[in-house]
Amino acid sequence: MPEMLLRARGVYVRFGGLVAVDRVDLEVRAGELVGVIGPNGAGKTTFFHTLSGVLAPTAGQLIVGGEDLTGHAAHEFANHGVARTFQTPRVFRDMSAEDNVRFGLEFAGRRRKHARDAFDNPAAILDLLGLGDVAAIPAGGLTPAKQRLLEIGMALGARPRVLLLDEVAAGLTHAEVDATAQLIRRVRDEAGLAVIWIEHAVRVLMNYVERVAVLHQGAKIADGDPRKVARDPAVVEAYLGEEGGGERKAA
Amino acid sequence: MHWNTGIKVIAAALCAALLAPAFAQDAPVRIGYAIARTGPWAVGAQMTQEPNYIMWADQLNATGGLSVKGKKRKIELVGFDDRSDAETVVRTYEKLMTSDKVDLILPPWSTGATFAMMPLAQKHGYPLLAPTATGRKLLGMKNPYFFSLLQQPDRMMDALAEFLKARSVSTAAMIYVDDLFGLEQSAALVVSFKEKGIKIVESKSYPLGIKDLRPVLTDIKAKNPDAFIALSYPPDTFLVTAQAREIAFNPKAFYVAVGAAFPIYRDKMGPTIEGVMGLGTWNPKTSAATKAYFDAHVAKHKKEPDRWASAHAWAGLEIMQQAVEKVGLDRKALRDYIAGNEFTTIIGKIRFKNGENISTPGVVSQWQGREFEVVWPPDRATSSALHPKPNWK
């Protein structure tokens, strides 16, 4: 069985009286591509914040590559191989696209060098993303779509073992989503990564991931094969509660 | 006026105007200084020092100039703003001494600024007659070109202690400001009061820039001392007075230090300060010379000089003038002359020993009516003291 890279156990986040994430367990192994879906306010992004160390959970445990990092700062997660993107691109606007990618390579990615790493330098990563021709342009000057891609490039620069993707498909055309998904699969295969991909639009994810977890009101209500999960009454109920659900929205 | 006389006068004036440049073929005597015109030091500098420089130069120029070994030469003042900044003081005196090569220099305002530029005066050999720098530390530098005009703290505090002793004051409370001035004055006060057997029942210090001293004054009032002494700076001098009045703390003797001699102290506080004592040295009644000085100052600058260091500033200029008249502009000779002779000034005879003015005695002054009367020592007094101090009005 492939190595267990990230394990969240009973992750619980409370803001004042509001429970945002309610005792969620999630395990990801090397080479897996796991989707996380859920309607608005399901706690997906908050959960992601805890996975990447941006937010310390109120209770629960986070184990990265066998090491307990609960309560550690975000850079520790990054240094242990967890890299993420942000939903609204947070590129370094004044730096060139190349420097944006180089950033991760200089820090989190610096100490790691695994055998199957195909992305040794910023140029290779930018080429892979089709951003080779804008390498020298300050990131703030790129189109929103390219900034989204660059977000992935920044995360890849960190030479991750676990890649967390936060709604990278939002706002893209069908063809673009398809291309992005192909790219993610390729990256996963070439570098042997574990990928966790959050998306609000269910349909998008279902086609590309091998496993999907569903969050509803902070709790995990399903986890497994996408086709089975899609028929799960609890999941249907959750999405139906949201005015006909994300299915229609995604279409 | 007769026609003829009129024409003669005009002709004489015209001749004088035309011929003046011919007579004044000598280049003017250039006298340089840096002083605060902006920033926090400007208040004191523009009260005590620069107006005197300007008035002195104008007065002498009106009479033909400064007499250099008997030969009159106009004075050209080269004054710059030091922005209340020690580094600018140093830089400006470097410019004056090395680039402009002025003939003489006048001192900057304050102890700190004087400290900063003193080594330059020694290095380039410029006599420095400082009217607003006080403290034993300055004299401790043993700078042969430095002459301090103000009475040193021990002298002032001795005079105060003698005055109080003569009025059978037996207990005192003091507050002092946390800087060189406050510390040296308070240390001197402790010694003087001990000598005279006056018991200090409370002694507190406070930082510069304080906005409320009432809690301290309330504590002191409860101890009911005969005398209260604040070794204070202008803002706190005003504050202490106002707040003592506010809580009706009215000891037999009430003394405040720097600022008491400022006309604005009287104008801001009003008649309530009757009987308040403080750091002063002279007033227009001291002598005919001080009266003349006072009137000239009011006429020239439309404001009164302060009754403490303004006169020292003027005395410094007088000493410079007398020395230049005698030995000319050779600065080494000037220094030696100043160091070795006695001078007559508006604050009396002055002689220096190791840079210290050893002639001017410690003085205690007191507000009576609109004047800051000298009340101690008896031979300098311009009025007899009000004791005990009347109630705050």
Binding site: A74, A83, R90, D99, E106, G109 | K95, M141
Partner: protein, 304 residues
């Protein structure tokens, strides 16, 4: 070392060597003017090194400067000048590290006001300490070094500061600082220990300010808290750096020289109204050249 950086550092060193001859070429006054230019070049550059890159607007420069000055005041009796200066830097740096650990989670105006408050706190602490334990406020330096020595020392510190700035900008550390300035959380998720980077940057910047304070203190013979913790030294530094463009290398340098010379010229030529002119100029500059002088220089120097 990249070619670009090598070029920059060579240029800085060459300028330093050229300036080292000034004491024998200039009058005392011009030399002291050069000294004040150098002082602000170093202060503004070291400030920009941290605050320009990270956008943490520090008003603590005068605190570091004052600490350095006090190291000289306390130490010069027993220490040689050559040792007092780096020691001043080290102590100021250590203080910054300590303080930074406590306050560097605050941003924006809070950080600015807090660093200002810290400077005042240090000033009053020293006043209180001196008054209570040494029974004095203010120290006299009995045997200060020659003006030439002071000039060369300050020149050395300035060259070191600018060269360090250039090296930092080209280094990983500089990239991390820039990351903190651009988006602190994002930098963290890419593996930057932002806390450590901020503390180190703050301390490094304080080191140079402290060394300068220690070097300059001997100019004034008499050291008292009021004059060496003068908040205007800190304000002026921020002003110069921001006018110059705190994100550039050359901006603060040019700005410090221009500002020092210009304000001196105005002071000497227009003895009464010059500060009004200066104020007016400042406003016009901020309104119409908001990127600072540095924004006028594009290319190698500005981005080096």
């Amino acid at each position: 070392m990249t070619a670009n950086l090598r070029y920059t550092i060579t240029a800085v060193l060459a300028a330093g060597v050229a300036l080292a001859f000034m004491p024998w070429l200039l009058s005392d006054f011009l030399l002291s003017l050069a000294l004040s230019c150098l002082m602000y070049v170093a202060l503004a550059s070291s400030w920009s090194m941290f605050s320009g890159a990270t956008n943490y607007l520090s008003l603590a420069t005068s605190a570091f400067f004052g600490i350095g000055a006090y190291v000289t005041a306390w130490g010069l009796e027993t220490l040689p000048y050559a040792l007092a200066v780096p020691l001043g830097g080290v102590i100021a740096g250590a203080f910054a590290a300590l303080v930074g650990a406590a306050v560097l989670h605050l941003r924006g105006a809070y950080f600015a006001v807090l660093t200002f408050g810290l400077g005042e706190l240090v000033r009053h602490s020293i006043t209180y300490f001196e008054k209570t334990y040494a029974r004095t406020v203010g120290r006299v330096l009995s045997d200060p070094p020659e003006a030439v020595t002071v000039y060369l020392t300050v020149l050395l510190i300035t060259v070191a500061t600018v060269a360090t700035c250039a090296a930092v900008r080209a280094s990983r550390f500089g990239l991390a600082l820039a990351g903190v300035g651009a988006d602190e959380e994002r930098a963290q998720t890419l593996g930057v220990n932002t806390r450590r980077v901020k503390i180190a940057g703050f301390a490094l910047s304080a080191f140079f300010a402290g060394a300068l304070g220690a070097a300059m203190a001997v100019r004034w013979t008499y050291i008292e808290p009021m004059s060496v913790f003068n908040p205007f030294i800190g304000f002026q530094t921020v002003l110069i750096a921001m006018i110059g463009g705190a994100q550039t290398l050359l901006g603060p340098v040019v700005s410090a020289v221009v500002f020092s010379l210009f304000s001196e010229l105005l002071r000497l030529q227009f003895p009464y109204a010059y500060l009004m002119l200066l104020g007016l100029l400042l406003i016009v500059l901020v309104l119409y050249l908001p990127g600072g002088i540095g924004s006028l220089f594009r290319g190698r120097w500005a981005r080096a």
